[in-house]
């Protein structure tokens, strides 16, 4: 699986009546198997960056060299009335260009992915009857089915209770462990602390660093404007 | 009758046609259109054209009795109809209807024409009486409602003649109408029929409806039984009724089904007869329900030998000779 290469990438939205914004140019290289956490205050542009990396938004400048990407919106953004199994199997849509339906192999792959994340027992339930945590695990199972070399997750741990958050984090580790690039934005700094690298998007620029340096108290203060010797959102220890 | 005004009439015909279409498209341009129309050609006759017809049936009655006093058409007849009427017909403006059928008249513009008399011809419903009273106060013209029943056409003609001061002409017409109706009532029994309305022929008048009154009164039997009104039926229903004759005013329908076995073959294997009644200038049995129906009555009373009567009647009613307006046809 190939890596991600950004050359002078400027992500952002074009001004429409003065509401546009631009992120600072990014020159980065991410190797397969890396987990990168993107942190920053609300409105810094994390979602815009992820969407640009996923190919859903055009970059304002620069270039991206990337393999096939899969994008996951924040929990609660996916609403579907059909079964969990069907939703997961839809991850193979990119393989079914001309056929009129999903193949049995797709359903088998879906079932395997669900079992792997211990949500196999939910396979026949309607998706919108699950809890946020269960839905998120199903969607990550779908990421496995999609088998994209680059996975972009927008705040994957938001709204989740600690048990489900841990399960999701473990699943993200497995995703990366199989050689994929995982880039996830988060407010949950302990998760960032356990990532391979941290990209901090702030008012004065974007910096990619090792977690230890990126999450140092003075950097956190400069980024969020609050004192924090623990995680600002849950108070847990930072490292 | 309008001598040197012919050129003016022809020129204004073009203007009126585009004015009418344009006003239809603008929709609410009633006042605009009517003010444009009233600047039309009959300026020299403005004093004489002082009778307004409230609806199409009334317009036909006034046209028959005193056509030089008709101020305008409630609804402008089609091009084919106008060609089947004397030239002045095309020069009359479209005024809109006062009875609720079709485009409504602009009352202010109508008042600007200073009509002296408004004639309505049709239902003598008490509701219409109230409407008549209201309009009388608003327009300052005398409103008269004349009973439109088929059997009372001679009386209606005489009443109109009195109102319009066209006594002699109206009397002659009324006498002829009475004679026609007399023969019509005594007509020998005719075949069973189905009256096909509309281009697909699936709309009909059931027994007792106004639309089929002329045919039923001539002792023809209407196979359609149901409400005493107009309604839709299916072709299978017509086949089940198995009429001897299909009667229609619609040339398009007649041409479309002349070779269609579904319509033409009867249950006993014979070919069903197809009667196409003339539609110009106005229908012989229907459309609108007015004095035009006399032609249907005359012909049904005596299909073979009524040519003379029909000619005279047509000349009196419309001002055109019969040969110019068509004959009933049995379609093979």
């Amino acid at each position: 699986m190939s890596g991600l290469l950004l050359e002078g990438l400027v992500a952002g939205r074009t001004a429409r009546g003065g509401k546009g914004f631009r992120l600072p140019p990014l020159d980065q290289r991410v190797a397969p198997g890396e987990v990168v956490a993107v942190i920053g205050p609300n409105g810094a542009g994390k979602t815009t960056l992820l969407k640009t990396l996923a190919g859903l938004l055009p970059p304002l400048a620069g270039s991206i060299e990337r393999p096939r990407a899969a994008w996951l919106p924040p929990p609660g953004a996916v609403a579907a009335g059909f079964s969990v199994l069907h939703l997961t199997a839809l991850g193979r849509s990119h393989l079914r260009r001309w056929s009129s339906g999903l193949a049995p192999a797709d359903l088998a792959a879906a079932r395997a992915a669900l079992d792997r994340l211990d949500v196999g027992h939910l396979a026949d339930r309607p998706f919108d009857r699950l809890s946020s945590g269960q839905q998120q695990l199903v969607l990550i199972a779908r990421l496995f089915v999609q088998d994209a070399p680059l996975c972009l997750l927008d705040e994957p741990l938001a709204l989740l209770d600690p048990a489900h958050a841990r399960a999701v984090e473990a699943a993200i580790r497995i995703l990366a462990g199989e050689g994929r690039i995982v880039i996830a934005s988060t407010h949950h700094l302990p998760f960032a602390a356990r990532a391979d690298r941290v990209l901090a998007l702030g008012p004065d620029g974007a910096e990619m660093d090792a977690p230890g340096r990126a999450l140092a108290p003075d950097r956190i203060r400069a980024l969020f404007g609050v004192e924090a010797d623990g995680c600002p959102c849950c108070g847990g220890p930072l490292s | 009758m309008h001598g040197g005004g012919t050129m003016r009439v022809i020129r204004s015909m073009g203007r009126h046609m585009t004015t009418t279409r344009r006003s239809a498209l603008i929709g609410l341009g009633g006042a605009l259109a009517l003010s444009a129309c009233s600047r039309g050609p009959s300026r020299d006759d403005a004093g004489r054209r002082d009778v307004v017809a409230a609806g199409s049936p009334a317009a036909l009655l006034v046209w028959a009795v005193a056509r030089e006093r008709l101020a305008g058409w409630p609804r402008r007849p089609g091009q084919a109809t106008l060609s089947a009427l004397p030239a002045p017909a095309a020069g009359l403006p479209e005024l809109g209807s006062l009875t609720g059928n079709g485009r409504q008249a602009n009352l202010e513009a109508l008042a600007a024409l200073r009509p002296r008399l408004i004639i309505d011809y049709g239902d003598t419903d008490p509701e219409y009486q109230a409407l008549a009273q209201r309009l009388k106060t608003r327009l300052g013209a005398d409103w008269r409602l004349i009973d439109g029943a088929l059997g009372r056409i001679p009386d209606a003609i005489r009443e109109a003649g009195d109102l319009l001061e066209a006594g002699r002409k109206a009397d002659a017409l009324a006498d002829q109408a009475a004679e026609v109706l007399e023969h019509w009532r005594r007509a020998p029994p005719g075949p069973s029929f189905y009256y096909a309305r509309g281009t697909d022929g699936l709309e009909t008048g059931f027994r007792g409806a106004l639309a089929t009154e002329v045919l039923e009164g001539a002792a023809w039997t209407n196979v359609a039984e149901g409400s005493r009104d107009i309604g839709r039926v299916t072709r299978e229903q017509v086949a089940a009724w198995d009429p001897e004759v299909l009667v229609t005013l619609d040339r398009g329908f007649a041409m479309a089904v002349r070779h269609d076995p579904v319509w033409r073959w009867r249950r006993n294997g014979e070919r069903r007869r197809l009667l196409l009644l003339p539609d110009l200038p106005f229908g012989w049995v229907d459309r609108p329900p007015s004095v035009n129906r006399l032609l249907g009555c005359a012909w049904l009373a005596d299909p073979e030998g009524s040519t003379m009567t029909l000619g005279a009647l047509s000349r009196r009613l419309y001002g055109m000779a019969l040969v110019e307006v068509g004959q009933p046809r049995w379609i093979l």
Binding site: - | L202, E236, D286
Partner: protein
């Protein structure tokens, strides 16, 4: 999947199809013309008497029209409800029905025959639907659902305004009833040629929707998800909308404006087979066809006059929809 569960998953579709077949036979065998079923059967194989042949000629196209219109409206309604993620989406969302009505009314105003009326209606529906799609495409906003709905409402309103204009200008004794009855809907006026003519676009649109299947599920997740899952979201959505508009246009051109089928059938189907497009669309088509057969039967069940199916579909469909809605919400 083992044979048992495969059978279980296709059971609803199978049951619906069998039900449709049973209703077809029932409708074919009953009507005003009493024919022994044996005669009908031999006529179906070309060896029947002339009367049985006539009956088949009369009932066959009507049946075909009802089935295809019902299936088309059911399928289009299901497609729209999935695409818009809105249980109140109906086939008229893009204004197609209003456009088709306008086309037909214009053709009737100009005195065209039934074939031209059908073609004009089809063209009108596609034109207004295309207008809505085109305007929505101009806005380029996200997945454009709101833009589509708004543009559909606007386009439909324009068509309705045009229709109102035509109604005002139409001749009240012949054209206006024809237009009114056309708009109210009927399965019986179609000839075999017209029914077959409508079959083409309906089958095409239906095939496209059935092929789209799971892709509609992906589209219903939103454009960003759809693109992330590797599908050309905009193109597919346009294809689905065009297919649904094609089916609706052809159905309205054939039978007039028959509402509520497109709203009701998907809801009923959803209660039976759930939300997956791959199963919802075919079952919705079957239920739509069934519903159309039922109201077609009812249209001629109360006397010789035909009750317009548009009225019946509202009279039966609205309470049925309420019932389904209550059932569905009780269940969840």
């Amino acid at each position: 999947m083992d044979p048992v569960s495969r059978l279980k998953s296709t059971l609803p579709t199978l049951a619906a199809t069998l039900l449709v077949v049973a209703c077809v036979i029932a409708v074919l065998a009953t009507g005003p013309l009493a024919i022994p079923p044996a005669d009908l059967l031999s006529a179906a194989f070309g060896r029947g008497g002339p009367e049985a042949e006539l009956v088949l000629t009369l009932r066959g196209p009507r049946l075909l029209a009802a089935l295809t219109c019902g299936a088309a409206l059911g399928g289009a309604g299901a497609g729209f409800q999935i695409l818009f993620r809105n249980p109140l989406a109906a086939p008229d969302l893009l204004g197609v029905s209003s456009g088709a009505g306008l086309g037909a009314a214009l053709a009737l105003l100009l005195g065209a025959g039934t074939v031209l009326v059908q073609s004009a209606a089809f063209a009108g529906g596609l034109a207004i639907g295309g207008l809505a799609l085109g305007c929505a495409a101009l806005t380029r906003s996200g997945d454009g659902r709101l833009a589509l709905i708004l543009c559909g409402v606007v386009a439909g309103a324009l068509a309705s305004a045009g229709l109102g204009l035509v109604v005002i200008v139409a001749e009240p004794y012949s054209q206006l009833p024809a237009i009114t009855y056309w708009l109210l809907g009927s399965f019986t006026r179609a000839t075999l040629a017209e029914a077959l003519f409508a079959l083409g676009p309906i089958c095409l649109g239906g095939a496209v929707l059935l092929w789209l299947g799971f892709r509609l599920d992906v589209l219903s997740l939103g454009d960003e998800q759809a693109r992330s899952l590797g599908l050309p979201a905009r193109r597919l959505r346009l294809t689905a909308l065009a297919a649904a508009a094609l089916m609706t246009s052809a159905a309205v051109a054939l039978a007039g404006v028959v509402g509520w089928i497109g709203l009701l059938a998907p809801h009923a189907a959803r209660l039976i087979v759930g939300e997956r497009a791959g199963r919802l669309i075919p079952v919705s088509m079957a239920i739509g066809a069934l519903f159309a057969l039922v109201i077609d039967r009812l249209a001629t069940a109360f006397g010789p006059a035909e009750i317009p199916v548009g009225l019946l579909s509202a009279a039966v469909g609205a309470p049925a929809f309420l019932f389904l809605f209550v059932t569905a919400s009780r269940r969840s």
